[in-house]
Subunit: 314 residues, 4 copies
């Protein structure tokens, strides 16, 4: 396929990333299950911590509820209850009363991380692992998110809405390598190995902004293109996020020849994590292009995806 | 009650905490829903960030699965599935295959934060809010965890196992004010307003260590005592965590006169968050008593509790 | 309240039913947990079986899915998966492949039975049981549906749409005692002790008929009125069903003085079961006013409600 | 495979059943989705109704709860709650209070029917349907249980424990054609086309009887053998049930050459339903070998399996 050939061409001479035909073998060894999270080192953490200069913090996860549009047929609900307390004044003479909550649904809704067990190419997953060796019905046995170290890294926000001069970047717009390089340059920031890159498109306006349109929100989106994904793999980023439900451009750049092809380049081919439904609005408003990014993913054994709320600190 | 009178005595002259009879009124105003998280300021964040000196990071959440012992009748399961892919080579000519996952269960299992809507006193919650104004069946309308800013603060780990000279602190041991003051002094650290305090007791050994005993793990525990909780409220901490399922001493210090009384002192009376099933083992091993604590809680609308994995960075 | 006084007046001289102030004591004794299901006897079953004359059968439950309108905040989903079979030809050399399914949601959706633990009056339930003695968070300890014997009885369908001369009976229409008596007479059927009575209103047209209107379907409805409910209790029926989500007239006959008052008359006061979202269309089309009614409710321990599909045979 | 050749040999001259290589084509036509349920006719219903002679009824489903042993990784829970009623006296001046319940889990637990979409042979299902045409992640699009008519038929209980002279039939015991013929003869009953056949083995004693052993209950079982299954298909039964979790003999008669081979003979090859965890104890005690069997399966759209509680009436 064209995209893979292109990837192959790009990959020559790279360290720390694996593209194209050789993607089955992780550069971090045959037993590796965490991919680009290997790029996090004490040195990189110390470097990233230096970005804290104002003490301002940001919740990067959007608020999620049962109405949050999601990839079909994913749905969720939360239920709040007061176990065994009706008609009582609570437990003990001190009257201990409490609310509890139940969640029913898919973990791939709203603000979420795609783990390395999420996406495969014809049933082969990161590090060349066969589906049968990765997934069991009661949890992943390999590539589960509980194995992830804390993601502490330099965060970079690229404001693609500003770059394209649009309030909301048009659906299907695929961020190319050239676009990304140009946007970074225009916004005074340079992408580096070990970064977490977040793209701001203004798309969340369709979710809870002034012109909400949930159908449009989840049906299409602007996002990372194939050359852009290959470029980020070449740079050696840890994770790629966006203020959209799926991070990559939809309709797909290559149509039915590239259904979630960007997901494939990032996750199985390069061990790069994807962060969806990230709220980049406050960062964009503050022109905050660099920050300390911190994410501790809930360590549910065998989880494929997980709802998250990363923290930006600058 | 004795404990409340004591609390009342302690509270005089305090700023930033509310104890005893006047607890209905938050010091942060009648509309406040986030309690001690108000103590986080750009200045406190900058100060905490200075604690990053080695670049070493820690996952503070334990791994959770269906067998993790939990407060009855809480239970959970995860299911991994491959929607609509059986007998296919995936979507598109590029063969996009994927795993998804479903969660069914209670959010108060394993590594969790207790939000301010979790615990009340005779159905009155933080800031004097009536249960009927706080909780609806489909989510909290007030005090929901989605309102929480990032918890970025100085983290302090007190090694109570070392303090008491026990591998695993005995169940029912209640950490008093004097114990906490003495432990902090012995371990060369001073508690300050705006801290997140984590107690290490060795209790996780019963969960997944050399002498596992799930029944004992979840039936009893060592933990914070009443005078200790009042002391931490006096200091003005943001959150209190421990390597146990419930943070406070069980059997309860005051028996049926104080069922989860420490929870009541911390949450409704002082707006202090509780962090349960925190994995303090690596911190204890490293004698890491001070660190940058970062927690972004998944922003599920109306959530009472949430599974978490805070990050310690030092 | 007026309705209860009326009930009191009606109750004099009745055997087998308990109305008004004395409702706390079941006529079937202090330990009774099944109410009007006690009316089923070998004799009544033999009598009902005689109604089988043509061999025609009917599914009385509507089809339920995630879009079925339900009392807020109830929701549900079903997920079909193929555990551990992806990229395989199945288990064994014989290739055993299979689909499984998961249900997440509320049991009070679609075609459902309201058990005797469903409805109370100020937290007192059937047979004068206190809520605290009935319900635990992990299931009812009394009045659970698993205790129900098979409901095998004479079924009677009253076509209220025909009686009122409307295709769809208007919302809020409350079937009075006089209406019920007159409709039965006009349709050549007499209500008797031990019957299961089903009301046909044409309301399902709003669910899946020619003029669907899900909002209207679940917001209001025609249905049983207070005098009608008291009359059915006087007759001594086992269960009352309808082709609506809630069986009783909404808006309520007595407004905020009678919120689900018909539910209270039937369930806690008289131990009569309620059957919701029953598909009476085929019976109405066939003018089938009498039939053998058979319902075996899934015996989930401690269940309050349960999705059902009773069978009519005539 | 031997079993299929045997099946082929048996099938010659049969009407109403399809065995062996030609199983892809249902005898009920290319559009058929309900299999042997087609055998139910007004005549067969009338005939079955004649079996009601004493008026005695039986719940045939066992009670199911979270501890009911099930095929891995199936699990379930029920939660009872009182939506929005804490600290209130209920809705309206009439004090309407209520309990509701939530189910989370797999539908293939406890008393259950296996629909025709449950079992395939190398991903081909009943009537030769390809898995991709049968199952979607949010429900079956073909073969869903909501399409099932009421199962009203002659029920036959064969007491295999009595036949073998064992209180509990030993695990792995495979009921052969000869055994079934002999047991029926000994117990004075003749199997006929359109029957629902239930086997009693005493196995439920391991679930909730005098010598409970949940591990043994769900790991192995006595049950229908291959020749027995082919014989029942030849007879033309509608459904086969048993007082075990899986109806067929485990360990499998043919080991890894016949993993759930009886399921394959019954469901995809012959459109015969399987009824698991049926409580045949009271029937066995009453020597009730013939009865009217009535089952209305909850009509959840796209359901593969469903919890059930059939009714026996005699």
């Amino acid at each position: 396929m064209k995209s893979l050939l292109l990837a192959s061409a790009l990959c020559c001479g790279l360290a720390g990333t694996a593209l194209a035909e050789d993607w089955h073998d992780s550069p971090w060894g045959p037993d590796d299950e965490i991919g680009a999270a290997n790029l996090i080192t004490p040195e990189s953490v110390l470097e990233a911590a230096k970005l804290v200069k104002t003490g301002k913090t940001y919740n990067l996860g959007i608020v999620v509820d049962k109405d949050t549009p999601a990839f079909s047929p994913r749905s969720m609900s939360i239920t709040v209850l007061q176990p065994n307390q009706i008609t009582t004044e609570g437990l003990g003479t001190n009257g201990m009363t409490y609310n509890d909550d139940i969640f029913m649904g898919w973990l791939g809704i709203g603000p979420q991380i795609d783990g390395l067990g999420h996406i495969g190419i014809k049933h082969t997953y990161y590090n060349g692992l066969a589906e049968a060796d990765v997934a069991k019905a009661d949890g992943l046995v390999k590539l589960g998110l509980e194995k992830l170290p804390p993601i502490v890294a330099r965060g970079v926000m690229l404001n693609m809405a500003a770059f394209y001069g649009q309030d909301i970047v048009k659906e299907g717009t695929a961020y190319t390598k050239d676009d990304i390089v140009a946007a970074a340059k225009a916004q005074g920031v340079e992408l580096k190995k070990g970064d977490v890159v977040l793209f701001h498109s203004g798309w969340l306006d369709l979710l809870d902004g002034e012109t909400p349109d949930h159908d449009r929100y989840v049906k299409v989106e602007p996002g990372l293109g194939i050359s852009g994904a290959e470029y980020l793999a070449e740079v050696g980023v840890i994770a790629v996020g966006a203020d959209t439900w799926g991070v990559e451009a939809v309709p797909f750049e290559n149509g039915t020849d590239g259904v979630f092809a960007v997901h494939q380049i990032l996750i199985p081919q390069n061990g790069i994590y994807i962060l969806e439904n990230m709220d980049t609005r406050a960062l964009a408003e503050d022109n905050a292009h660099e920050f300390l990014f911190v994410l501790g993913v809930t360590r549910m054994k065998g989880a494929v995806q997980m709802m998250i709320n990363p923290t930006a600190i600058r």
